[in-house]
Symmetry: C2
Subunit: 428 residues, 2 copies
């Protein structure tokens, strides 16, 4: 008996799951984990405060109801091969998990030995980068963010460049330096040019920032020359995760003309470990803000392509308490992910499974809803005060930055966990 | 008996090699080829008009003098694992090949059966992309090119932006759409905004261009947080190839502010099939042009980091004869590859084997030595005339663009072959 997840929003599991858990039975996001430091990576799914080991489930015969062309995908170091099996398989696996873990199914519930082999405490496992990322693109799709940055970097009276409302501006980023939540980030050194000096100087960045973003992971590839229409985008998206696009504002300001950000960004970006599927996010679809002027036909869409996802960023100083410094929402995005993908491929650029497409910094219209310190402190002019009384224009060594996100509707919560990384001092 | 390649510039092979061949015994560049359309890819080395099959050499016992931790590297679909064996192994393989193919060594020369198993006509094999490219970066290191583009896109009286002489400007490009010479290129469609209209329009690019570049391939990785000093750069470079950074100028002009080129470039880039090692290029090292003002200490260098490499581009219309439209030289580069690598990693950005770092368009100071049509026709204002009498502002459907390059000194020629691709009409 297969269940349809979307029609069972109130289905509960025999596994104890806290009411405010990010990972109820309706979520079932995919990731790569090792049960212990010495164990090999494998595919896992988050449920409550546990990780379900799909490779163990398969070995014990609990996945026999799902047909796998190649069961070795559950023993891989990334999700790419599993994703490559296609949307029908992702769905079949999630439905099988709902079936196995629903409260009224005794199969696994009453089998203590199997449970011990299959379930691992999330706090005790080691999470890995969930996908091999062939290419990573960063969009710039929040109109509030683009307007704020344009005001500070260029012209406050005309902050948006002429192309901004006509296409989702983006640039290619560095794939090699994308790391998993928990990886320490080293403050980068680089070339900057302070306003008060004639020549550029070299040293540790003095304006280190986070950028609150979300990213989607490609689930179905295209060939060169092929385009993905807006209406086809969903078939090419595996899911979403949280993304912190660590940024050095002083390096960025000096280097970014005319070819865009480079060393200001490529020292590190970080992702949350669990990829939440499009299916799990379906109940939280909302309309995209009105786009004015109207966009060209290849960017027009029909349907709900934004998501109502609450987002927040906490900064925790070394040995201090965390302060939430911003609260915002993914629903504010001016350009939606279907438009991003359609634009990216309209010229025939090919995409691969595991490619990452980040939203760009997500800012709201209100003060305190901006997705980076550059905006929150208005270029360092208006420092924010943390719970311990210390002030921040930009990040201090030892700060831990955590981005968290969840969707919530009728007590139904689908969360992303967090991407949390500590900033280390620059290398000697 | 091992020979030192560099001390034997006049050594000849028993294999007949034309005097003007790009691939004498002193070159021995690496690539990936299939002997026939149905045969699997493997590692090859170019010699004269032949390809040496390293996997066959190994199987026949001719590589026993070289110690391999893992001989399977010769049966891989890319060079990455071979490159990962390290510089000592690359050198040992090249020296062993010199030994086997030098005129006075009968071992292979007089073994017809072995020769038939090991040598393949370059005109009959299928070449593949030589490396898996994790990340691709495009620099902007020709001062002539940057000045010309700055004049046309921005301000003729002040074409170079303030940062240009202080750091090698670069941006991240798309790795997925880098293809091997011979792959047809589809004219991209995209959004542009002609000067005479109010709103942007959508359609096939009307300003399709080539960019004559060279690129180096990373031979030794770094960890995140690690930097490569200028003096250490050579240890991280496997070799060089020719690179055509196909560009749609009308898309670029509209999209590129503020985050740099995106769809104007990521529909396709193309590489030549053979990677010429740093060792083979050693005799052609020349000084970098004087850098004024002096650069920051992390970019200062001591030694010869440019190469005297003659470069040219030919355009061949459909069913027509080829016209050489530009001749230039890699030695003109203002920023050298060691500086590019040092700058790229000074912030701790990690690099991987197979990463590609392209030079940016290579232009000389003279008219007719510019590396792209944008400059050669001055933005389409001064069309060039081909041998068949037809004119070009930008490329026409059916044009084949070939970039070729070689170094020449005392009758000693080390060449790169070519990267040649035909432009197909835009998709319907």
């Amino acid at each position: 008996m297969l269940v349809n997840i979307d029609t069972f929003p109130t289905l509960t599991s025999w596994l104890p799951i806290a009411a405010d858990s990010d990972f109820p039975l309706q979520n079932l996001p995919f990731g790569i984990f090792s049960p212990s430091a010495s164990a090999s990576p494998r595919v896992g799914v988050a449920l409550g405060d546990q990780v379900i080991d799909l490779s163990a489930l398969l070995e014990l015969g609990f996945m026999d109801e799902v047909y796998f062309k190649d069961p070795s995908v559950f023993y891989e170091q990334t999700l790419n091969d599993f994703i490559g099996l296609g949307q029908d398989t992702w769905r079949a696996v999630r439905l099988r998990l709902v079936e196995l873990f629903r409260a009224d199914n005794p199969t696994l519930r009453d089998n203590e030995a199997a449970k011990a082999a299959v379930l691992f405490d999330q706090n005790k496992v080691k999470m890995h980068l969930p996908v091999h990322i062939g290419d990573y693109t960063d969009f710039y799709s929040s109109i509030e963010h683009a307007s704020n940055v344009g005001s500070m970097f260029r012209d406050p009276s005309n902050p948006l460049l002429p192309n901004w409302r006509h296409l989702p501006v983006a640039y290619h980023g560095r794939a090699s330096s994308i790391v998993i939540s928990g990886t320490p980030i080293r403050r980068p050194k680089g070339q900057t040019k302070p306003d008060n000096v004639e020549m550029p100087v070299f040293g540790p960045s003095q304006a280190l920032d986070f950028e609150l973003e979300m990213a989607f992971v490609v689930g179905k590839p295209t060939q060169m020359g092929q385009s993905v229409a807006v209406a086809e985008a969903d078939a090419h998206v595996f899911g979403f995760l949280l993304f912190n696009d660590w940024s050095a504002r002083d390096i960025q300001r000096w280097e970014y003309v005319p070819l865009g950000p480079f060393l200001a960004k490529n020292f590190a970006s970080a992702v949350s470990p669990w990829i939440v599927t499009l299916d799990a996010l379906a109940p939280f679809r909302v309309a995209t803000p009105t786009q004015n002027p109207p966009v060209l036909p290849y960017l027009q869409f029909d349907g709900l392509y934004n998501f109502d996802i609450h987002l927040e960023v906490g900064i925790q100083p070394e040995n201090g308490a965390e302060t939430i410094v911003t609260r915002t929402n993914y629903k504010y995005m001016y350009w939606n992910y279907a438009q991003q993908l359609a634009h990216h491929t309209v010229n025939g650029c090919n995409i691969n499974i595991g490619d990452l497409y980040a939203s760009g910094t997500i800012s709201g219209a209100e003060k305190g809803s901006n997705g980076c310190l550059l905006e929150l402190t208005w270029g360092g002019k208006e420092p924010i005060t943390l719970a311990d009384g210390s002030q921040r224009k930009y990040l201090a060594d030892g700060d831990t930055v955590a981005i968290r996100g969840y969707a919530l509707k009728n007590n139904h919560r689908i969360g992303f966990g967090e991407v949390s990384n500590k900033l280390l001092p620059a290398a000697n």
